[in-house]
Symmetry: C2
Subunit: 590 residues, 2 copies
Amino acid sequence: MAYTAPIEEMAFLLRQVAGLDELFATGQFGEMEADLVLPILEEAGKLAGEVLAPLNAAGDKAGAQLTDKGVRPAPGFAEAYKAFQEAGWMGLAFPEEHGGQSGPKALALAVMEMVHGANMSFGLAPMLSFGAIEALMAHGTPQQQALYLPKLVSAEWTGTMNLTEPQAGSDVGALKTKAIPNEDGSYAISGQKIYITWGDHDLTENIIHLVLARLPDAPEGSRGVSLFLVPKVLVNADGSLGEANAVRCIGLEKKIGIHASPTCVMEYDGAIGWLIGEANKGLAHMFTMMNSARLNVGLEGVGVGEAAFQEALAYAQERKQGAAPGVDGAAPILHHADVRRMLTTMRARVMAARVICYATGTAADLAEHGASEEARAAAKAREDLLTPIAKAWSTDMGVEVASLGVQVHGGMGFMDETLAAQLFRDARIAPIYEGTNGIQAIDLVGRKVARDGGMAMGVMLGEVRETARSARASNEPQLVQIADRLEAAADALTAATDWMVETMTSDKETALAGATAYLALAGDVIGGHFLAQSAVAARSEAGKLRTSMLALAGFFAETALAEAPGRVAGITGSGNLIREASEALFGLSQ
Amino acid sequence: MAYTAPIEEMAFLLRQVAGLDELFATGQFGEMEADLVLPILEEAGKLAGEVLAPLNAAGDKAGAQLTDKGVRPAPGFAEAYKAFQEAGWMGLAFPEEHGGQSGPKALALAVMEMVHGANMSFGLAPMLSFGAIEALMAHGTPQQQALYLPKLVSAEWTGTMNLTEPQAGSDVGALKTKAIPNEDGSYAISGQKIYITWGDHDLTENIIHLVLARLPDAPEGSRGVSLFLVPKVLVNADGSLGEANAVRCIGLEKKIGIHASPTCVMEYDGAIGWLIGEANKGLAHMFTMMNSARLNVGLEGVGVGEAAFQEALAYAQERKQGAAPGVDGAAPILHHADVRRMLTTMRARVMAARVICYATGTAADLAEHGASEEARAAAKAREDLLTPIAKAWSTDMGVEVASLGVQVHGGMGFMDETLAAQLFRDARIAPIYEGTNGIQAIDLVGRKVARDGGMAMGVMLGEVRETARSARASNEPQLVQIADRLEAAADALTAATDWMVETMTSDKETALAGATAYLALAGDVIGGHFLAQSAVAARSEAGKLRTSMLALAGFFAETALAEAPGRVAGITGSGNLIREASEALFGLSQ
């Protein structure tokens, strides 16, 4: 079964709901305009469906291999990468001065969603390049930018992020890799990094590693971490390639999914590197690109969820078991109400996550291109608030929806050969990397909600209530019903937010014990809001889009939104119980 | 990390909550008595922890292999099976007349929970034997019983169930395997069966296959299916082994989990078989053993969930990341509130499923051994009602908890080598086999709720309210809070049940669209009831058991029970929306 990007829905959600049309109206995207959205998505959809999707299952089987000449990707990946590179997809949202096309990030994210949906292992290669490019754009010197950015933006080279060491995972500050100054201003980098995605390969002539390491006189912990650029092959001042650097992949992790994405153990043995940005500010510099990486991972959840839905629908149309009214002989299982419930659940949840991610993307664009400083600041606050939700809610959704995809397949879903099973395995990494979903929840309640006293969330909740009002004003019974659910859910999220702001000050431990449940509730309410907004916006669209948006928003309202009020207790009332259970079961007095 | 059966909790839940002590009080279990529960569990726990658990990861890697001499299990499984067999575990709950020990089924189920928790692949071999034994006990002739039962009950032979064919999965009635009468009263069985668990192996000298097939003059569909006994090696009248039968494994499925459990494609090529029970009643005969098989699968969810919890707790105690108050240097991640929330969630949900399954087990025992016909009928209704919930809720829980176990492990959880990852893969089959969880939900709302007008569920809800009353009567604030949540949840389930009974008559399609959500709600409410009952019962127990039961019941009440009222809408209000979404998205007018 091929992956087919749902480009009409994507274009509708981007333009009518996530605000891409308003974004183009700022006039800051050069020759790119709203009418080009659909053709661009169409073109990317062809690459995803025709080139990347056919390699997905074979890549899972073959995996990437470590040879004595380095890592060799799965068969077909080299040709696919060339097609991706030559079409210029990498540069879509990067500035023209670095060789890009200055388009909106939200559009580039939608393209990446397709890439992930068609072949998540493949998508990780460009995804890591995004991070490297953004770090260089934000913190590189003009010389560094001139030397490295054009090749990264054109995708002629790829980039990586090297944070994790065996003892330093979520606690990045515990890392030990050393950077010793050389006389020429460069540094000698030595240490071992693990879990390095696409850390080595021969898809491109060079790989630009961004590496966190510690200077000799650096303070302990996270305040003594600096960011370095370490090319696989040294680059001469004229841009030509020089000698190989002292960095290599010494092992590949054996994982339960994304087999075609090499997860490398990297050894740096006095490799030559250059400081990016300020000494000892490496962690802060890394964080400037974290927002985009996290959002991109959220879109992996969306892409894999969409693929799981398509695969399950195709199977449900094809697999015949039992009778159904109006069907001669055995009927496709799609006729069973429970199978339709699973498919509807998958479809509604994927769509909710999709709009959350797109809206986060347009907020990121507006944070840069907004007409006034005020508009930019407001957009930045919105981007910051939505990013952990986009990452965590969408990736949890990806696992849940991929699991439903397996369930629709019955016994076939448990077989290695089935794409549904692969998607279930692939999806499981996304809640873990780029900051576990637990860390996203702590980020949300701490930096994004408590720090500004709940202001950004209050603005978001104002939008939610505005959506409810406009749904109610339609006087259409189904939209009015959605408005009722949405308002009750907004009340629930308001109560939970007030409690969280208060409790993060008075009893942080208890507040943090509710962080994950708070994020889940926020995602449900905001997702329901965007679906309601989609249903309202679709009133002027053609029949199928209109009726499906209305039904999906309604289904989400009667399930996720209707449950929202009952979920406040699990946030506000569970902390003491978790503490008591921990004391009794694990012997912990904290 | 070794699996350690939580025998004290198991014994407490069996005796104080699930009613095992009352069961022993019937005096129908010969020499077995309540005081033996703990020693029996201890002994089984040793086998699970010391013999079966150490083989689990290696079995996953090696898998079972198909050779030209048949299937060869993973290394160590033969010795482990011998230990299991010689200790007499198979016969624990079977009658002494067939070589068993006439103990309660509920106790045997608790033993099987340990076996599944330690090594689910291994546990499937005895689990399938249970089914074969029960079918023979219920429908075999005295001669058939005398010839086969002692060897099955002693575990000297194993049994299998052969239902599925490529075109006949959930719709068993579509099967095509033929049974042609021979002159001597036996039948020649020919056809291909798939997904046959432990369909071949050399752990025992013989394997007794129970096979569904069609007689020459049989009606079409499920009314023309008969049950046959087909031994791998023919058995002479004196019980000695004769010639090999014409049945063999021609392929092993490649699956994403339970690698050490061979899933066979079986070819019957005129194999000699004997009719079990009545001609054309095969499906009904199979169903008599379905209850026990389904309950056993529910316990797989519990066992794997328990193993995932233990593994996650051990990792959280060992893995150090970041600081915590009161800890010098890096602190174990167990100190993070979010990690404790995950562990508490896992623990509470595993325990809820455990009591649901145990209570279903004691109901099955009482259905047989109850003092009066009335008592037996009431217990049977309870067993029938709880079985689909025990199967579906517990196995969905198993997947969810195993996924949380991966999450606690962070990046390590995604590695092949990690037991957490294996449990996540293993757990995924349980919601699928022995009737998908969707089929359990249809069974629940159709045969178990609508058919008796909601009477059995009404009795159950009466117990739930009684538990709330007794929790309230304690006057302990935490128990009173649980009582509040439990009563509101009981109201929700009552409303959903009334709607379901009514709608199954008036608009079956809409009712069935809510079946899975109804089962999930029922499991939450009944699980919360049993946890509340445990907390009440634990008031007279020692400190740790008392405080942990209270905290876990409280946590479950503030999360699952508090959400219950909000989930009624997803049952009663989603059918139309699913229909509308299906029309718009899949072009289905039903």
